[in-house]
């Protein structure tokens, strides 16, 4: 399907067969089907193979530093709330280098979509362990196998009461696209952790492995029950996919900051200095 979000790029840096391609395709289609305007969408990314995603789509892009997409994305959203802001990257980028920002972004609850390509390995730097690598996973650095428990992004996000927590799998097109649409439609911070096979550096968690190790949450599952959601987040082999947790409604960062400063909803580039008020205020300092 062709979309207004397509960008023709001759030199794509991803390996043939990589799961990144399907995530890119699903994202573009989701945005198209939701009728979004590319001129209103900003994709902010860090560094890594996954973080190259905005290079290959027709959207505004801020491709920044390793781990730092989330603070930039929050700055953009506060500055101009009318933009659809997506922060996208890999598991190393978002959960490793950017771990502190991940926790804080959830707590701040800006209306942004945090897409994480979770391939359980570092791709761009050639196959070291990532925070989500499974125990025992052998790499050129973890020669005896990873000796720590994998980071559980879903449980972490629920414990921090993230506004919306989703997991999906790049190989399940319908599911992945539907989940992306739910994420985009939601107001508030969304974590969407997408299982994605790295065909080059992860020979354990392959397409087949993911397919066999996920199951779709049944339709009667209620994501608003926090305790149940937490239980679900602890399940593995197979891992549940779907909307795992939805918090009760709460204010979003940009609205809160704008209310506090009485700045209204206009983008900051239209902000004007009230020199009269400034003079008056300075007159108090005599």
């Amino acid at each position: 399907m062709s979309t207004r979000f397509d960008r023709i790029v001759e030199d794509n840096a991803w390996c043939p067969g990589c799961g990144n391609f399907s995530i890119l395709a699903h994202l573009k289609e989701a945005l198209e089907e939701m009728g979004l305007d590319p001129l209103q969408c900003v994709v902010v990314s860090g560094i890594g193979q996954a973080a190259k995603t905005p290079q290959y789509m027709h959207v505004h892009m801020f491709n920044g530093l390793h781990g730092r997409a989330l603070p930039v994305a929050q700055g953009i959203k506060v500055s101009n709330p009318s933009l659809t802001v997506i922060a996208e990257g890999g598991d190393g980028d978002m959960y490793g280098e950017g771990g502190n920002h991940f926790m804080s972004a959830i707590r701040r609850n800006a209306d942004i979509i945090n897409i994480v390509h979770n391939n359980m390995v570092y791709g761009l730097t050639k196959g070291q362990a990532s925070p989500t690598s499974q125990r025992g996973f052998k790499t050129p650095v973890q020669t005896e196998g990873v000796h720590v428990e994998p980071f559980n992004p879903i449980a972490t996000a629920i414990s921090l009461d993230a506004s919306l927590v989703i997991r999906t799998f790049s190989g399940n097109k319908e599911h992945c696209k539907e989940m992306l649409k739910i994420a985009i439609a939601h107001k508030g911070y969304v974590l969407i952790d997408i299982f994605q096979p790295c065909v080059t550096f992860n020979k354990i968690n392959t397409f087949k492995w993911f397919k066999e190790n996920v199951y779709v949450l049944p339709s009667e599952y209620n994501p608003e029950d926090k305790v149940k959601a937490f239980e679900k987040s602890l399940e593995s082999h197979p891992f549940p996919i779907g909307v795992i947790y939805k918090s009760p409604q709460k204010g979003v960062l940009e609205d809160v900051l704008r209310d506090e400063s009485q700045i209204g909803s206009k983008p900051l580039y239209l902000h004007e200095v009230d020199f009269h008020a400034l003079s008056n205020e300075m007159n108090k300092y005599i």
């Binding site: 209103q40 530093l65 603070p71 700055g75 009318s82 009485q262 983008p267 900051l268 580039y269």
Partner: protein, 559 residues
């Protein structure tokens, strides 16, 4: 009669030194005098030994002196803490017998007196009124201020304390410290501002509408100042999880057209290095307020130093232009932070504004100025269909579009990028883009602010940033025709015309509040060698009396 008096108040945190400072500075200002105050304090919330120095003068004073004319130790520790600052002439207001010194005692038990009016905490008000009377000033002025500051019972005891203090002050027949009246009273209308407040107001005038910071002394004052003003001026305020995020949020804001500032000290600025570099390659403007304190690492958290110049100039990986400014007083703080927003926006570079604990926490009489109500110029363009964020053009600066304004996409990249903003590994594109970015340095140098030069003696006394008025007054005291002063508030990049006054001088004395002479090293890179250096890095600012002695000593050798 004197035309200038220095009053030193010492005590532990929580003893109300700040209230005396407010009472005395406001009071003397309204009574017709120029005032200046500065403080040094320990890194603790309660207790310790802290001092505030207040100068009162017929003439403008904008710098601290070391020796106190009048000293009020509110506790014994304060006395020993400040012992060095007492001379034979110093008038010590305290209970005789509490400590020994070769000084003049004005024997009063302030705390006992305060208890007698019902609250030991008002010994500070007694002291303030006493000093007011001692200097021969009308205590009614102080009464008005107390009435504005306090209410209910606190007002009552404070007024009682005031009467006691005033009476004691007038009783004293020793008019050693009576101060010559200043009838012009022009300065009563002046602003009385700290460096922190100068930065805060200047940021507002510069169109700042977003601040994200992680608290770190002595920069936090600007964060709290802007938070306090956020409702009045429409400023979004967020406390970031760390300095890395603080800077990155700011970049997101600038990218989408807002005007952000972040505030920090050396330790936090170290973490911002990667952000500075990102600002450099993405050509996203950013303004950082760096209030220095002594390092390395956590150093002396509440003290002062000019030790981060090299960090400001060299931090961040790779080669990219930046601007570093270092104001010298609250007025210049106001002007330069406003300019920082303008420069960052116009040249699409990070601008670092350097202050330090001394400047941030000192209060100056600032001659009242009108704020030029010129709206900040936003150097952003409405994009059209052919727009390219990193277009190469003859001006050397690619017009900056923002998302949501115009018809094109704005692609910004930390990787080397094409004119469109997409990753490239083409060597020729790298050369083109890198050359374009680096060309901003000569462009910026053209608008560099020239140093402030005073007098035309052939021995130039050179300084930068917060030391300006200390150096100036020290040189004035020496009154040696051979001396001139050259002071830099634009410290990087330096250009030829800025250096001309130094090239002309026969001899250079460079004065810095650090241990290794960082500015002198920078001058050397530009082919200018300091003949003499006066450095200080004990955690305190220079003092006029101390510095003039040091310069005078040097001059003897030069003779």
């Amino acid at each position: 009669m004197r035309d200038s008096v220095s009053v030193l108040i010492g005590g532990k945190a929580g003893q109300g030194i700040a209230s005396i400072e407010t009472l005395l500075t406001k009071g003397f200002k309204r009574a017709g005098f120029y005032t200046f105050s500065t403080k040094e304090f320990m890194s603790r919330v309660r207790g310790g030994s802290n001092t505030t120095l207040i100068r009162i003068s017929k003439r403008p004073v904008n710098a601290p002196v070391y020796k106190a004319d009048i000293f009020v130790p509110l506790d014994t520790n304060a006395f020993y803490h400040a012992q060095d600052r007492i001379t034979k002439e110093t008038f010590v207001i305290a209970k005789k017998g509490d400590f020994e010194c070769d000084c003049t005692f004005y024997d009063h038990d302030l705390e006992g007196l305060a208890k007698s009016v019902g609250n030991p905490i008002v010994s500070n008000t007694i002291a303030a009124a006493l000093i007011f009377g001692l200097l021969g000033c009308d205590v009614n002025v102080l009464r008005e201020i107390v009435a504005q500051l306090y209410s209910n019972e606190m007002l009552e005891v404070n007024l009682k304390a005031l009467e006691i203090g005033a009476k004691l002050g007038q009783e004293n027949e020793n008019c050693l410290y009576c101060i010559e009246p200043n009838l012009s009273a022009q300065q009563a209308k002046d602003f009385f501002l700290s460096g922190t407040e100068g930065i805060g107001f200047g940021a507002i005038a510069g169109g700042c509408n977003f601040i994200s910071s992680y608290p770190m002394s002595p920069s936090t004052g600007v964060l709290t100042f802007l938070a306090k003003q956020s409702r009045n001026f429409g400023i979004c305020v967020e406390q970031a999880e760390d300095e890395i995020a603080a800077f990155q949020m700011g970049l997101g804001v600038w990218y989408s057209g807002g005007r952000a500032i972040t505030t920090t000290s050396g330790g936090g600025f170290a973490l911002m290095g990667e952000g500075l570099s990102l600002s450099g390659i993405t050509e996203t403007p950013m303004v950082v307020y760096l209030a220095q304190r002594p390092s390395p690492a956590t150093g002396l958290p509440t003290r002062t130093e000019q030790g981060d110049l090299e960090l400001a100039i060299y931090s961040g990986h790779g080669e990219f232009p930046r601007i570093v400014l270092a104001p010298s007083d609250p007025k210049e703080c106001f002007e330069l932070v406003r300019k920082a927003f303008e420069l960052a926006d116009a040249y699409q570079v990070p601008v670092v504004l350097m202050s330090d604990q001394y400047l941030a926490d000192s209060y100056f009489n600032v001659e009242r100025f009108e704020i030029d109500p010129i709206a900040p110029v936003h150097h952003i363009v409405k994009t059209d269909a052919d727009y390219k964020r990193y277009s190469i053009n003859s001006e050397g600066i690619s017009p900056r579009g923002i998302p949501g304004y115009g018809e094109a996409l704005v692609l910004v990249d930390s990787d080397e990028h094409t004119e469109e903003g997409l990753i490239t590994e083409s060597m020729s594109v790298r050369n083109e883009q890198n050359t374009k970015r680096l060309q901003k340095r000569p462009l910026v140098a053209k608008v560099a602010i020239l140093p402030d030069v005073e007098a035309d003696g052939e021995i130039a006394v050179v300084g930068w940033g917060s030391t300006k008025y200390i150096i100036k007054e020290a040189v004035e005291r020496i009154a040696d025709k051979r001396l001139s002063t050259v002071h830099f508030s634009w410290v990087h990049p330096l250009c030829e015309s800025q250096l001309a006054p130094l090239q002309k001088a026969k001899r250079l004395i460079v004065i810095e509040n650090n241990a290794t002479g960082q500015f002198a090293k920078l001058l050397r890179l530009h082919g200018i060698t300091a003949d003499d250096q006066i450095l200080k890095s004990d955690g305190l600012s220079f003092f006029v009396d101390e510095l003039s002695e040091k310069i005078a000593l040097l001059l003897k050798e030069i003779r």
